[in-house]
Amino acid sequence: MLSIENLSVLIHRPDRQVAALSDVTFAVRPGEVVGLVGESGGGKSMVARAVVGLLPGGAHTSGRVLFDGADVLRMDEAALAAHRGRGAAICFQNPRGALSPTRTVGRQLVDRLVTHQAMSAARARDAARELFEAVGIRSPQRRLDAYPHELSGGMAQRVMISLATGCAPGLLIADEPTTGLDVTLTREILRQFRRAADADGRSVLLISHDLASIAEVCDRVVVLYAGTVVESGPAEQVFREPAHPYTRALLRSVPDVGGRPVVATPGGMPLLTRVPENCPFVTRCAYADATCATRRPPTEPRTDPSGDWSVACFHPQAGAIGGAEAPSPVTLAGDRGAAETKPAVLEIDDAHVVYRSRFGSGGHHALRGVSLRLAAGETLGVVGESGCGKSTLAKLIMGLVAPTSGSVTVAGQSLVKQPGRPRPRGRELRRLRTRAQLVFQDPIGSLSPRRTVADSIAEPLRAAGLAATERAARVAAVLDRMELDRAILGRYPHELSGGQAQRVGIARALVGEPDLIVFDEPTSALDVTVQAQILAVIADVTADTDRASVFISHDLATVRGFADRVAVLYLGRVVEEGPVDVVFDDPRHPYTRALLASAPRLGGTPAPDGAAVQLVKDLEEADATAGCPLAARCPFVTETCRSQPQHLQSYGASRAACWRVPELTALIGKQATTP
């Protein structure tokens, strides 16, 4: 179907030259799902662009991209148009951005069918409905008349898939199709691609930075590093026993819900200016020797039953990734649980936050009665899917939004106007604000674009009224702790890499020695190996005993690394809360169970109590004002769940907001036997 042979792409720019791809060779056969894995800058998207003939200006190519025997690189415009319409179709990373906002999704799909498939309008509409049904969109007839902004992210991605498959292309390319989606949705969407391959015999090229999450649906994976293929082979084998040190580093950089420690690989991907003469991974590789530095390893097949596994490395590794390989596990060894007696740094009591809609009545109820208490030295993990109120909770703690009812205090003081509490003003308030610091999700966006790094880090010290020399000394000290070079002080945010910017963000949070640091998804915008480096930094910071930390994440596994306690948030409510190991190994609430079951795991860490809870898919934004918030999606729902509000009750060491917890184990067993 698709066969890429020795594809090299050199991009010439007036000020520099980039070797985007060097001798990339791999094939995608009909009915096969191939995963293209690697960090950003590795050349994944460049491969996708080459396949559909959309290389950027100034690109020099050599090698061939054969699609059904024809070389895409040598097609003229007319042949390319036909190739893009019926040969290969792309699903983009940002589905809502790829859909035209002013036309209904049904209309966009119908138009495409009429143009490329020469259907009549009425038949095209029927076909569109069937396509929507095929990708798991419920009530497709109604969805056809929806505008893109009326769809959730997962729904929009499904529409995108139906648009791409609508013209029956032989090859479906998905560029990071699940980035930004929740764990439960990610699984659903990935399964759609598997179906496209199995049911219709299509080839699928699945591009992702996350090997663990796509391994399950792929037949084979191709690992790219700095524009070179370092390893390719059967997905299951590569995932279980990766041979190339980079593949191993990639997998070990990702925290795992099973509690396997993260190992950070130092350094970053080199930007190649020409086809490399040596192994591009040499500077970061623990096994590198003189040969690796001078010669480029040839791609050699591995002894493997399928005979399809090849690695470009002089020192291929064998065996599964085990804990033994990890020299410095990033786990937190503090004394957990002793914090109860200390005074609370953060106290939230039955806080509600309602965002009033600007026009008329109504509004969005983001938090519905959250109570949390945190003492110095403690780290609280907060997990939940997007829209559960995580970010609102961060803003509430930081005093950026006021609670509609209830109260929130940091170090016993109130940062925003709230009923029945005095709020400090002026300089006192400014000083108090620096007691709680936030580390943002978007590391570069959280730095003022026209302020130098030195200025940004020193910001909290200004409020404290420190002299310039004192500020410079404090900044220098915190810079050392973040392992940043002094030279970075004079730079501007756009000159920083994501990892550097996040270190600067953490430095700014630390510099004023606050009582509380809130990490709001600090690694979700970073590359996998950079994530591991930043997580190591954060683990170090949260281990300080004189400070409390809140770590907010949609990724359960990152939280497990260093939180003492964890709170699971669902639609603005805490549904489960307890010590991190208890919640992860022995989850109580059906929602926690479902989340943990959807999280990808590396081999060797079994899921807790065998059978998993499957939530009913596609939540239709059920706004449960009475009763359990999960009632619309929970497979064990009863009338009691729908009518009675659920409060946190103690079950062993943790607390869960579900009255059926004692019966759940039996119920889950029944669900597994009668699917």
Partner: protein
């Protein structure tokens, strides 16, 4: 398929869009700056390259044709056109730049406060700006000139008032998008004061469009100034000013004595062109950066 592994010839390099744009913008910026520097040099060096004063009358020759002791001839009052065109550059350039600077400062301050505070203050300030913008430029200028009277300072104020609303709007729009970005939250939680946030974070990040528009605006300001003078609302008569000179010579042009009006007109044209090229170049460069 296996024996076809010969590497294909490298494609001819396609034109790279980004680089062509940036080269184009550089040409524009350099040309514009060169023209403006020439005009500024002429203005400053007027006493060196002209033998007559700006308002010096040569009673011996009125409406003399170019040549002889008067390089570009004289006007109906016997004043040397070449000298006057050079001296006028001082006034025209000075007033235009000063007026735009004043407009930028006033408009930016208004926009900054309105954009950051929002609410009723935003509404009040922006409606005031709406009212200012609803008047045709010359009517507004007429009103201000009538209110404050003639004079250089008043002209600057007039032209600034006409131009300030645009900056208020630009900056306000920019601030409104900027203040939703995480770095503003970061400044708030770092204990920055409101003035600190406005001055150190929002202002430097909101000035990009202003930097692009201001040079273009200097060109327009010159035209406005010339227009006001032409209508008799600008400088008082003997003062050397291009618009006033064109106005003065208009009647003579009809009689075939083109040198009275054409040189100041050309000077005006060249200066405005300089500002336009500079502004366009800056705009191109800003666009290229955004891509």
């Amino acid at each position: 398929m296996t024996d076809l592994r010969t590497a294909g010839p490298a494609e001819a390099p396609k034109a790279v869009r980004g680089s062509r744009d940036s080269r184009f913008s550089r040409v524009l910026i350099i040309t514009g700056s060169a023209i403006l520097m020439l005009v500024a040099a002429a203005a400053l060096g007027a006493p060196l390259v002209s033998s007559w004063g700006a308002t010096e009358i040569d009673p011996a020759s009125t409406l003399a044709a170019p040549g002889g002791s008067h390089l570009l001839g004289t006007d109906s009052n016997g004043m040397d056109i070449w000298s006057r065109v050079l001296y006028a550059a001082r006034l025209d350039l000075g007033i235009a730049v000063a007026a735009v600077a004043l407009a930028v400062v006033a408009g930016t301050l208004l926009g900054l406060v309105a954009g950051y505070r929002g609410g009723w203050l935003d509404d009040v300030l922006m409606r005031a700006v709406d009212i200012l913008q609803a008047f045709p430029t010359f009517i507004l200028a007429l009103a201000v000139a009538a209110l404050l009277g003639n004079g250089t300072v008043n002209l600057i104020i007039t032209i600034a008032v006409v131009n300030a609303p645009a900056y208020a709007r630009l900056v306000r729009a920019e601030v409104r998008t900027q203040r939703e970005l995480p770095f503003v939250d970061a400044a708030v939680t770092s204990g920055a004061s409101t003035v600190g946030i406005l001055w150190r974070h929002l202002l430097p990040n909101s000035l990009t469009p202003v930097r692009v528009i201001a040079p273009l605006n200097c060109g327009w300001a010159m035209l406005t100034l010339a227009g006001l003078s032409f209508l008799g609302l600008g400088v008082s008569i003997p003062t050397a000013e291009w618009g006033a000179m064109i106005s003065l010579g208009a009647a003579d042009v009809v009689g075939g004595r083109w040198w009275t009006s054409v040189p100041p007109g050309l000077a005006l044209f060249v200066s405005v062109l300089g500002f336009s090229l500079l502004g366009e170049g800056l705009q191109e460069r800003a666009n290229a950066k955004r891509r």
